[in-house]
Amino acid sequence: MEAGTKTIVDEVNGDSGKAVSVLRFSGDISSSSRDAVLGAYGKVAKDRPVLLDFSRVDYINSSGIALVIQLMMEANKSGQTICAFGLTPHFQKVFTMVGITKYARLYPDEQTAKATV
């Protein structure tokens, strides 16, 4: 009875023309989302920025946030930039509370995020 997380991996170009990977999550981000978050991240190229698209996610709990932090940890090791967009104001606040914004910028939507990479 859990809404499984789905992740689509997209390749787009930032406004500078640079290739960017986008992980588009949908469903819930919870303890059962390990594959959808870390598994999907494991498959993207390490030489370009990664955008996390939360616009089709409506439930994120602290176990899900922990998976996002683990993803950021791995990215940090290889010096890869991570940004996120599509979070509701509530989850922007929650991500800020736990300190995620120290390591990943949050943008309101995909366009704004792409303009920065």
Binding site: Y59, S62, I69, M72, M73, M97, V98, K102
Partner: protein, 148 residues
């Protein structure tokens, strides 16, 4: 779990991850009925979800034959929520999450539930059951007060 007041609403859920979303839905309906603004309803939903997840995971150790209880009691200007499990309660209060330590692998990525609950509601209190069970966390969210 018999301390229900006349106008309290009680929900009983099996100890299965995912069912916290039902308690979120019920809590949101009560808060909406009381006239809480949307942003405070979101705060309440996350706090209730985290409390239920802890009750399911740490209180009842995912034993589906045990249930968790959620009692929602409204006054004119505040909503009290008790999330009750059949375990012994929180033994030691964890320190606040430290993102730098997490990013450097010096502390677990997890361990943010109690921190979020405290940050999102106006009062939070963890109470150990007297006979080693029926422990609960008691949350209060007030109508005329900005969140964090």
């Amino acid at each position: 779990m018999n301390e229900i007041k006349d106008t309290a609403v009680e929900v009983r859920l099996p100890s299965r991850l995912g069912f916290e979303k039902i308690a979120m839905g019920t809590a949101a309906s009560v808060a909406k009925l009381m006239g809480f603004p949307e942003d405070r309803i979101q705060d309440l939903k996350t706090a209730v979800a985290e409390a239920c997840i802890n009750a399911i995971e740490h209180g009842n150790h995912m034993d589906e034959s045990l249930s968790i209880g959620v009692i929602l009691s409204a006054t004119d200007d505040s909503l009290e929520v008790k999330v009750i499990d059949e375990g012994g309660g929180v033994s030691e209060r964890p320190h606040s999450p430290d993102i730098d330590r997490k990013m450097h692998g010096e502390e677990e990525a997890r361990g943010m539930g109690m921190f979020l609950i405290e940050a999102l509601v106006d009062e939070a209190e963890w109470v150990k059951g007297s006979k080693g069970n029926n422990s609960y966390v008691r949350l209060v969210i007030r109508l005329n007060k900005e969140g964090c």
